[in-house]
């Protein structure tokens, strides 16, 4: 009997296993479908749940035998294997074994292929952190590509998630187009057939080839990645995984980035103008898309003005009931409480239709402050209405508050993506006026680079006439500034931001030329008003403002008319020292401008990519920073 005991025990075990398999098989039984795809039988509970929540591997991704084998081979210790591989990857990175790092990442993503963040994080690691470890820019470029190629491998494993494709767009745009090495990278990119072929299974190379000298463009490729992701979402293959405001913004934003990049690399042309025109069209389309924000409010970015008009009409109606003086009195109290400066008061006092863009912005910010100071202003006004009209007044106050809520939400979204600035910028850049200004600036900059400052001319001794044969930088810049002035007149909002920065660069070059040729800043500089604004608003320095020029004029008037040699000498000294001082200021202003560029909201700074090699800042280690830079970059 004793010798039979183990045998019987084994039989009992087997029987138990068999019995337990029955309920397991029942709950896991797969569903069946008819030929037309209609569910015939839902299958077991587990199977139905898997179907309901799209958890089946085949639903999430293509079935990869290697990946599945590796998952099985880890014998249920997938978590341990993942941890070991992550640690190994960190060790390889620390010791500079980058080929081994890449190979480890291959294995890692085979056992956790459906974890999108792993792909994103490690692609960022390769394209940013590993790439900057190399001193040779060609190696850096190669590692950026390796990071992107790695990310692309994650697409089939996560075909219901568009974020990997979005990231491809983001990194393609930023790393090639905004990093310190952007000029070199974009040059290499244009000739990199090998890379274009590597990506060809997802993006046809001709889809981002601008043709002619421009060739394949990295920003256009970024645009196409975003377009590809949106196409998948539109077809219902992917679910939209990010908020409406940014989701719809990314694609059109790449067009203006492309326009800006090409403008610095080539002389402006019809192609570039057409890119800006397309950017303008798509940005306007973006403004017409219904966007639902985090508060659940659905609006369109181009509706701010309409909402404001609606609200004003409602207020007028309310004021008619209670009398205008009630609002004025309450407003006066609040404004006292807030404390306005002269400029703000002037903006508030100016009639709505006469307000400049800057004043409109100011008034909006004051109105936000008013709402913050007293959110119930209109309700309070309604409470002072006669009893007979109280009900109507309360209804109006309620509607006004609702509109305020919408306006605030919309303004917030609008500011996040800098909608109004780019609306004007795209439109301006696509117009002949700006194209002409750019062409004139390009010519002037060429002269500046060649150190040709003054006009060259033939002098006819008989007629005493001068015929200009070649124009110098100074006069060309003056022409360009006149044209820029027209642009700024039409689009005052552009007086600060990235465009203003580039014009400011030209102003510094122009001033430098004046200093070298020992000339004074002209009293009637075409951009003088803009310079005044930039000095005050955008923080540029080193260029005379109207105030400085008036001081100079009054100083001249006070000077004695009968000059002595000694006086002249003094003046020269004074002039020299002023020149030196100006030079110093200009030099300082470069720094100031550089600092300003890093903090300018409207600029397209690249906080995430202005890395100094091995500066110790490990971007992958700080996800918060990364996210911040991502949103900044695309605004």
């Amino acid at each position: 009997m004793t010798s039979f005991t183990p045998f019987f025990r084994k039989i009992i075990y087997l029987a138990c296993i068999g019995v337990l398999l029955i309920p397991l098989s029942l709950v896991s039984r797969p569903g069946t479908r008819e030929a037309n795809g209609k569910v015939k039988n839902e299958g077991g509970k587990l199977s139905a749940l898997r179907e309901e929540h799209d958890l089946a591997q085949a639903k999430i991704a293509d079935i990869d035998p290697t990946s599945e084998t590796m998952k099985l081979a880890s014998l249920g210790l997938r978590g341990v294997a993942v941890n070991l591989l992550w640690m190994q990857a960190i060790e390889h990175k620390k010791k500079g074994n980058y080929d081994q790092l890449r190979s480890t990442l291959e294995a890692l993503t085979k056992i956790q292929p459906n974890f999108v963040k792993v792909w994103e994080y490690q692609a960022h690691n390769l394209a940013y952190n590993v790439s900057v470890e190399f001193d040779d820019y060609e190696s850096r470029y190669a590692w950026v590509k390796k990071g992107l190629a790695f990310l692309k491998k994650g697409i089939p494993y996560n075909r219901r998630d568009h974020r990997i494709i979005d990231k491809l767009g983001f990194h393609t745009g930023i790393k090639f187009g905004k990093s310190d090495e952007k000029t070199s990278f974009r040059r290499l990119f244009r000739k990199d057939d090998d890379y274009h072929q590597e990506m060809a299974d997802r993006l046809a190379p001709e889809s981002y080839d601008l043709g002619g000298d421009y060739g394949p463009d990295s920003w256009k490729m970024a645009y196409q990645w975003y377009a590809y992701a949106r196409e998948l979402v539109d077809k219902g293959i992917c679910q939209q995984k990010i908020g409406d405001t940014l989701y719809h913004m990314y694609r059109p934003a790449q067009l203006r980035n492309m326009g800006m990049a090409l403008q610095t690399e080539f002389k402006t042309s019809d192609t570039i103008q057409e890119i800006w025109a397309q950017a303008d069209r798509e940005w306007k389309d973006y403004g017409q898309i219904e966007i639902t924000n985090t508060l659940g409010i659905t609006t369109k970015l181009n509706q701010v003005a309409q909402f404001e008009n609606d609200r004003d009409a409602l207020r007028e109606e309310l004021d008619e009931i209670v009398g205008k003086h009630v609002r004025d009195e309450l407003m006066a109290e609040i404004l006292d409480q807030i404390g306005l400066n002269d400029e703000q008061r002037e903006a508030m006092d100016t009639d709505g239709s006469d307000r400049t863009d800057a004043q409109i912005q100011l008034v909006r910010s004051i109105e936000r402050a008013i709402v913050t100071a007293d959110a119930n202003l209109d309700t309070k006004i309604a409470l002072q209405s006669p009893d007979s009209e109280r009900k109507r007044a309360n209804r109006l106050a309620l509607e006004i508050n609702k509109k305020n809520l919408q306006i605030n939400a919309l303004s917030k979204d609008s500011n996040t993506v800098n909608y109004r600035y780019w609306l004007s910028r795209n439109e301006a850049e696509s117009k002949d006026l700006t194209v002409a200004a750019r062409e004139a600036t390009y010519d002037a900059e060429q002269m500046w680079r060649q150190s040709i400052y003054d006009d060259e001319y033939d002098f006819n001794f008989k007629t005493k006439e001068k015929t200009v044969t070649k124009r110098g930088g100074i006069s060309l810049f003056v022409d360009a500034f006149e044209q820029w002035n027209d642009v700024f007149e039409e689009y005052p909002i552009l007086r600060s931001g990235e465009l203003a920065d580039s014009v400011a660069d030209s102003i510094y070059h122009y001033k430098g030329m004046l200093d070298v040729t020992n000339r004074e800043w002209p009293d009637d500089h075409p951009l003088q008003k803009v310079i005044d604004f930039m000095t005050e608003d955008a923080g540029i320095s080193g260029v005379p403002t109207t105030e400085d020029l008036e001081e100079r004029r009054s100083g001249r008037e006070e000077e004695p008319t009968d000059d002595s040699d000694e006086d002249e000498s003094d003046q020269e000294d004074s002039g020299d020292s002023e020149t030196k001082s100006n030079n110093q200021e200009a030099s300082d202003s470069d720094q100031a401008k550089s600092d300003q560029a890093n903090t300018n909201e409207q600029g397209s700074q690249d906080a995430g990519t202005t890395e100094n090699k091995k500066s110790g800042a490990d971007q992958s280690g700080n996800d918060d920073d990364k996210t911040e830079s991502e949103s900044d970059d695309n605004i």
Binding site: K94, S103, E106, D136, Y137, R187, L188, R190, N612
Partner: protein
């Protein structure tokens, strides 16, 4: 490649023997003491004394009269038994499957596929062989005892030493055969995986497929930099995830200069110019990672057919001649320990700086001192290969398209620095190449000057490296950073003269000796433990030893009394109380208690690290991965270590078996 230890076998043996003697002494004392305790517990203290004495004295004939013949007979039995268990077959099967699917992870497109391939096969072989060794040794004796088949052996006139050694030899033989097979298959796998050929992209394989280089000196095809002497370029087709850039170069030589070798296969044509100089046009295949292809030019001139041979550079076994000492100097010229720390987490390399804008002259340098630097070590070659691996740390962007520049200067090391003149070579500047081995060809006769000890110039000229610079066998190489505010990272193993290459397959074989040594230690351990433990416990014990063996350097680092933050107890206390490593504890009972406890723990850890073999010392995979010859000193160290463990474990196993009833 990371190289930390440079000692010779005899240097190592001195310290090694001392440690071995200490461990033997402790083991003997501990063994006798424990044996006595056990015997005393079972038979009383007086009887125990006799029993222990009897065991010790009766062991002498066992050790002295152990018969190789009987060992061989038992080894044969062990082989049969292991074959019956089919462990070898399973191991071979897993290995075959590993190679079949391993290629999937050898991702194309990497610059160093050779490293991945070799790393993969060595790691796989090592793991499988150790696992196999553990399984066959751990189950052997306990199974025999369980099934009572051991009586068929112990009833014969065999000694316990022969039972143990026979098993170690038998299993070792099987493991060796398996390892040899795996090595051969691995070699073929790597060779097959890496071999490839390219063709030039173009209608035909002549210079017609080449394009001229634009004035920008950047490739018209890829926009990448081209060599200074390149006049035309082409690219090959893409194979194995990469393509090569081909350059047609033009070099003009004076008749008295050393001309390109007559046997060179890449010369397109040779022309004598009007001024008597000779112009050579040659086709160069640029490296990808560390491999290239030999260029064959059939015919001469523009119609010559150009073809590329198989990949060269993957299978190499460099013989490096390292400096005996590396000394860093700071910017004031004072010697420093380990160079500047730029904040890298990995402190293998020390850094030298290139000066600062406020003080442009820096005396910071890395000085490599070579001993026994004689021409016979380089087979009297006219051109020496200096190879470097350096890292760059930039403090500002500077010119993005230009790599940081390093300076190289050679110097004699006089026997009497106060009286003897010094020979100094002219400074050579070169752009650094990171993350790869940079090769600089150094002509044996180089330009330089001779100066007196107080720095006065004696003469200038061309001097022979061996006959003038290193006439006393001593020689110095100075590396400096030539870019302001930038830094160069360097370690002792980063700079060496390449004395030539060893035969690759022989080096590959030497690499497997390391794995063989590991396997023998594991087999001996498994057999020794299985004499007194059950199979699962033996396996567990062996796994622990393997793990400890792999992390030995880490344990020794932890057991270092100079380790910042103290020992394990102190570190734990600091973590709990949130005190950083630099904060000093207040004196008192707690501090004394922590420090004393740590001393005991540290000493235990230190001892423990020697009870398990340091597998890092027996692992030569890095040498094969990075293409370096494994020198005989390292092989001897590995063999001696393995022998010491096998002997030690045999003795342990003998006494354990002897004390068991079974073997009496």
């Amino acid at each position: 490649m990371v190289v930390r230890e440079f000692i010779t076998y005899w240097q190592w043996l001195g310290g090694g023997l001392l440690t071995f003697a200490l461990i033997v002494l402790v083991a003997v004392v501990l063994g006798i003491f424990v044996g006595y305790l056990v015997a005393a517990f079972r038979h009383g203290p007086t009887e125990a004394f006799y029993i222990v004495s009897q065991v010790v004295f009766s062991s002498l004939p066992d050790f002295l009269f152990t018969s190789p013949k009987r060992i061989f007979a038992i080894a044969k039995l062990a082989v049969k038994e292991a074959l019956r268990r089919k462990v070898i077959l399973v191991t071979a099967g897993i290995f075959a499957a590993m190679l079949l699917f391993g290629g999937w992870f050898m991702g194309a497109g990497t610059d160093h596929p050779d490293r991945l391939y070799i790393n993969f096969v060595l790691w796989g072989t090592q793991m499988l062989v150790l696992l196999m060794g553990m399984l066959i040794s751990a189950f052997s004796l306990p199974e025999d005892i369980k099934h009572k088949t051991i009586y068929t052996v112990v009833t014969k006139p065999v000694r316990p030493t022969e039972v143990i050694l026979g098993r170690i030899v038998g299993f070792g033989f099987l493991g060796t055969v398996l390892l040899a097979g795996m090595g051969l298959v691995s070699f073929l796998f790597v060779w097959r995986g890496l071999s490839h050929q390219h063709q030039i992209v173009g209608k035909n394989q002549t210079l017609a497929a080449f394009q001229t280089i634009p004035e920008s000196r950047r490739s018209r095809i890829t926009e990448q930099r081209v060599s200074d002497n390149a006049i035309m370029e082409a690219v090959t087709n893409k194979v194995g995830g990469h393509f090569h850039h081909l350059e047609l170069t033009e070099d003009i030589f004076n008749p008295e200069d050393r001309q390109p070798s007559e046997t060179a296969t890449n010369i397109v044509d040779k022309k004598v110019l009007e001024d008597g100089r000779i112009a050579y046009r040659r086709v160069i295949c640029n490296r990808v990672g560390e491999h290239s292809h030999q260029v064959f030019v059939d015919g001469t001139g523009d119609d010559a057919t150009i073809r590329l041979g198989p990949a060269i550079g993957y299978f190499r076994a460099r013989v490096p001649i390292y400096a005996s000492k590396l000394q860093f100097y700071d910017r004031t010229g004072e010697p420093t320990e380990g160079g500047i720390n730029v904040g890298n987490e990995w402190t293998y390399r020390g850094y030298i700086d290139g000066g600062h804008p406020s003080n442009r002259t820096t005396l910071s340098k890395a000085e490599f001192n070579f001993d026994n630097f004689t021409s016979d070590r380089f087979r009297n070659a006219d051109v020496l290969q200096l190879e470097l691996t350096m890292q760059v740390f930039r403090t500002f962007k500077a010119d993005i398209e230009k790599r940081v520049t390093a300076g190289l200067q050679f110097e004699s090391v006089p026997d009497n620095p106060e009286t003897d003149n010094i020979v100094i070579s002219d400074l050579v500047e070169f752009e650094t190449e990171e993350f790869s081995i940079q090769q600089l060809a150094i002509d044996r006769k180089i330009l330089g000057k001779i100066v007196t000890p107080d720095g006065k110039l004696v003469e200038k000229g061309k001097y022979d490296l061996f006959e003038t610079f290193a006439k006393n066998g001593k020689f110095r190489v100075n590396i400096t950073c030539r870019d302001l505010s930038q830094y160069l990272g360097i370690a002792k193993g980063d700079v060496y003269f390449r004395a030539g290459d060893q035969i690759y397959w022989f080096n590959f074989f030497k690499g497997y000796i390391g794995i063989w040594c590991q396997m023998m230690v594991i087999i001996a351990l498994g057999v020794a433990l299985s004499t007194f433990l059950s199979s699962p416990i033996t396996m567990l014990g062996t796994i622990v030893v393997i793990l400890v063996g792999f992390v030995t350097p880490f344990i020794r680092e932890m057991a270092d009394p100079q380790h910042l933050g103290g020992g394990p107890i102190e570190s734990a206390y600091r973590v709990i109380t949130q005190q950083n490593m630099m904060v000093e504890f207040d004196t008192g009972f707690l501090t004394t208690f922590i420090e004393q406890t740590d001393k005991i723990v540290i000493y235990s850890l230190y001892l423990m690290s020697y009870l398990a073999p340091n597998f890092a010392q027996l692992d030569f995979s890095d040498f094969l991965t990075y293409g370096f010859a494994i020198n005989s000193d390292r092989i001897l160290v590995a063999l001696t270590t393995a022998l010491a463990f096998v002997v030690g474990l045999t003795v342990v196993g003998y006494f354990a078996l002897k004390t068991r009833e079974i073997a009496k």
